[in-house]
Each structure stands twice: as structure tokens, then as C-alpha cells.
């Protein structure tokens, strides 16, 4: 675990010193949210209903950017090669990358939920629940996203392939998360089965990605 925490610490130091890549991603997410807001008339009653979907769209697009730029930087700076020839196992690299990206997306989700509630309306008393439902859904986004990002590093059109491969995989979790988030923001009945779906898909995504990650680093 010390190697995992060392990689996490390295990534966090890079983020703090590196000029605010996370802040750029947050700005991107908010920009997407604002843009989507123009998809509906200003007085549309559907705004609060679709807010959860808008949040998710914003999160996913931001996640793709975040994963891609993170892995590109690792590959460009030779960090990936250094990790590979060190005694760090592929599983440790995956765990560290997963933790860093998950933390990043969890923070992003908090900002986006608040921004969406402000812009589209929502029950302020349930924002924490809404954030939890989104964060639970991001487990599968980050797990599979980390794996697929590693696969697409040296691939032609890897930028485009990442969302093409990732988005269909995470849709079952998306449906459950959006359903929960919408329920919390609009004060409607919560489908508790959706939590089970989120947990199941999250576990499957994490387990398969952890097991297969070593093949993503193969030359």
C-alpha cells in the first residue's frame, strides 16, 4: 500500500504544482452545464426534471477529459515506463490511479450538483444525497475509464475511442444514478433498487478493471 499512496501523493503534488488542471476541468463541467441549460426554453417546466441528466452529461464529458489528459501526461513524461520497470505492480498502479481520479470526480460532482441546483432548481435539503448517488455512479466511470484510458494511450484516435468504448459500458449505472439524483433533486419517490444496481455495477467494474489492468500496460 505504501507504493499506492506514494503514487497518489505524486499525482496530488503534480496537480497542486501543475497550474490547476482540476480547476480547468471544473470550469469545463460548469461550461457544459450552462450550455445544456440553453437546450431548453428559459421558462420550461422540464428544467428541474432534466437537471440530473445534465449533471451526468457534464460529469461524463469532464471525466473523459480528465482521464485522457492524466494518462497522456504520464505517457509523455515517461512516468508510466518508470512505474512499469520499478517494482510497482499493475494492480498498485490501477489502485492509485483509480483513487486519484475518483477523488477528483467526487469533488467535481459536488461542484456540479450545487451549480445545477442553483441553475435548474432542486431540493437543497437533499443535495448531499444527490451527490452520494452521483459519486456512487462514478465508481464504474473511473474503474473502466482508467482501464480503457491505459488501453488507448498508444492507439490511433485514442481520444475518440475512449468515450466510444466507455459511454456504453457505464450506461446501466448512469440510468440508476440519474434516477436517484432526479428523485433527490425533485423530491419524488426514490427507487431503492437503483442503489443495488449501482453497487453491483460498481463492484463488477472495479473487479474486472483491477484483474485486467496488467494487460493494458503490456507492450
Amino acid at each position: 500500500m505504501s507504493r499506492v499512496t506514494a503514487i497518489i501523493a505524486k499525482d496530488l503534488r503534480t496537480e497542486v504544482r501543475g497550474g490547476g488542471r482540476f480547476l480547468t476541468i471544473v470550469l469545463f463541467a460548469v461550461t457544459v452545464l450552462v450550455t445544456l441549460g440553453f437546450a431548453l426554453p428559459s421558462d420550461s417546466p422540464a428544467r428541474s426534471t432534466v437537471a440530473a441528466g445534465f449533471i451526468w452529461t457534464s460529469i461524463f464529458l469532464s471525466a473523459v477529459l480528465d482521464l485522457r489528459t492524466s494518462w497522456d501526461a504520464e505517457h509523455r513524461d515517461g512516468m508510466l515506463d518508470a512505474l512499469r520497470i520499478s517494482r510497482t505492480t499493475p494492480a498498485e498502479i490501477f489502485l492509485a490511479k483509480f483513487a486519484t481520479s475518483f477523488l477528483s470526480l467526487a469533488l467535481l460532482a459536488a461542484v456540479t450538483v450545487v451549480a445545477a441546483a442553483f441553475g435548474f432548481g432542486g431540493e437543497s435539503g437533499k443535495l448531499l444525497h444527490a451527490w452520494l448517488s452521483i459519486t456512487a455512479g462514478t465508481v464504474s466511470v473511473v474503474a473502466w475509464g482508467t482501464l480503457i484510458s491505459a488501453l488507448c494511450i498508444r492507439v490511433r484516435s485514442g481520444d475518440v475511442l475512449l468515450p466510444i468504448l466507455l459511454f456504453p459500458l457505464i450506461i446501466p449505472a448512469t440510468i440508476a444514478s440519474v434516477s436517484l439524483t432526479s428523485s433527490f433533486l425533485n423530491g419524488t419517490e426514490v427507487a431503492t433498487g437503483a442503489w443495488i444496481v449501482l453497487a453491483s455495477v460498481g463492484l463488477i467494474a472495479f473487479g474486472t478493471s483491477l484483474a485486467l489492468f496488467e494487460y493494458a500496460l503490456d507492450e
Partner: protein
């Protein structure tokens, strides 16, 4: 056995065609459009089987077995049959539901599966052929295949517009015997078509790889 495969496929296909149009009764409420059922359901069966083959072959590739051509061939065939499922479903839905598409769980999950495997083939097309491509594609094939049980249980998880499973219903098949017989013959025919196509396509991929490497 191999020499019997093509004649058996042809025979089963002719039998299925004749049964679909001459033996199976016309459904009382839906009319002749219901006969798409005998293409739609076997195509869905083959789509699932093909992706299961991709998953198994992908595991084989990661275990250093020479199964990459089988995985690629199966994915290509699976995409074709999933396309048939979606198109026949849309034609059938237009007549029965009054709309070609609804975002219910089963249809949506089939569309997701189709997209996953198009992505798989796009990934293969973007990477140079070789062992690295085979292993990386195998990873995608395996994680794509986890969608298969979600599709099957989607009708159970979300009560929605798509009909409850008629044949794989816990209380037993609800089809009249003539329809059930026609469906079974169609399933056999489609399965033989799949095996024939898989054998030929994987051989062709192997031959092309041998020519490229020589």
C-alpha cells in the same frame, strides 16, 4: 462432421423458412408481422452467443492461446446479428406499438451491446495487428461481455414496455405448439448459420494474418 455442416445449415434454413411462412399460424392480434418473431428472437440468441464466444476467446487470448481470429470473427458476426435484432424489432414495434423505438430497458440494453462491440471493432481497426492488439482487444471483449447478463435481466429489473420473456418465462413457454416448433427450428437454423460463418470468417482472418506475416 465438417463436411456435413454446410448441407445441414442449408437444410435447416430451408426448413425454417418453410415453417415460418407455411406452417406457423398467423397470430390473431398482430397478424403476419408477428412472423418477424422467428427472425428477431434467433438473431438475439445468436447475438448473445457471439458475444459469449468473444468473451471466451478473449480469455483464451490472455492465456496465450491462439484464439484471436475467433474473437474477431465472432464480434463481426455478432454485430451483424445485433443489427438484425434492432431492425426487426423496430419494424415489429412500428406495427405493434405504433412506434419504432422506445427507450425501454431491453431495447436500450441491446443498443448498448451493439455500440460496445462496434467500439471493440473500431479499437481493433485503430491498433496495428499483432499480439498487443489481440491482448488489448481481449480486455475490451471481456469487459464488454459483462453487459450480457444485464441485458437478459433488464426485463426483470425494470418493468417496462418490452414484453415479458415468452419462452424463458418462469411459468413455462406460452406459445402454441406450432409456433414453438417453428421457433426451435429457426433457432437451430440460425445457430448453424452462425457456426458456418464463424468457421469461415475465422479461417479467412487466420489466412490473411499468415500472408501479412510471411
Amino acid at each position: 462432421m465438417r463436411r456435413l455442416l454446410l448441407p445441414a445449415t442449408a437444410l435447416a434454413s430451408v426448413a425454417a423458412t418453410l415453417m415460418i411462412f407455411l406452417y406457423a399460424p398467423t397470430e390473431a392480434l398482430q397478424g403476419n408481422v408477428q412472423r418477424l418473431f422467428y427472425i428477431h428472437v434467433p438473431s438475439a440468441w445468436i447475438a448473445y452467443c457471439a458475444f459469449a464466444v468473444v468473451a471466451v476467446a478473449s480469455v483464451g487470448v490472455l492465456n496465450r492461446r491462439d484464439m484471436d481470429s475467433l474473437a474477431k470473427a465472432s464480434a463481426e458476426i455478432g454485430v451483424v446479428f445485433t443489427t438484425v435484432v434492432l431492425i426487426t424489432g423496430m419494424i415489429w414495434g412500428s406495427k405493434v406499438w405504433g412506434t419504432p423505438w422506445v427507450w425501454d430497458a431491453r431495447l436500450t440494453s441491446t443498443l448498448i451491446l451493439w455500440l460496445i462491440y462496434l467500439g471493440y471493432l473500431a479499437f481493433r481497426a485503430a491498433t496495428p495487428a499483432g499480439e498487443t492488439q489481440a491482448r488489448r482487444a481481449a480486455v475490451i471483449g471481456i469487459i464488454g461481455a459483462v453487459d450480457i447478463p444485464i441485458i437478459h435481466f433488464a426485463v426483470i429489473w425494470w418493468a417496462n414496455l418490452h414484453p415479458q420473456p415468452v419462452v424463458l418465462n418462469p411459468s413455462g413457454p406460452q406459445l402454441p405448439s406450432e409456433m414453438l416448433a417453428t421457433l426451435i427450428v429457426s433457432l437451430v437454423a440460425f445457430s448453424l448459420i452462425f457456426v458456418t460463418l464463424l468457421k469461415r470468417r475465422s479461417t479467412r482472418i487466420d489466412n490473411r494474418l499468415t500472408v501479412q506475416q510471411s
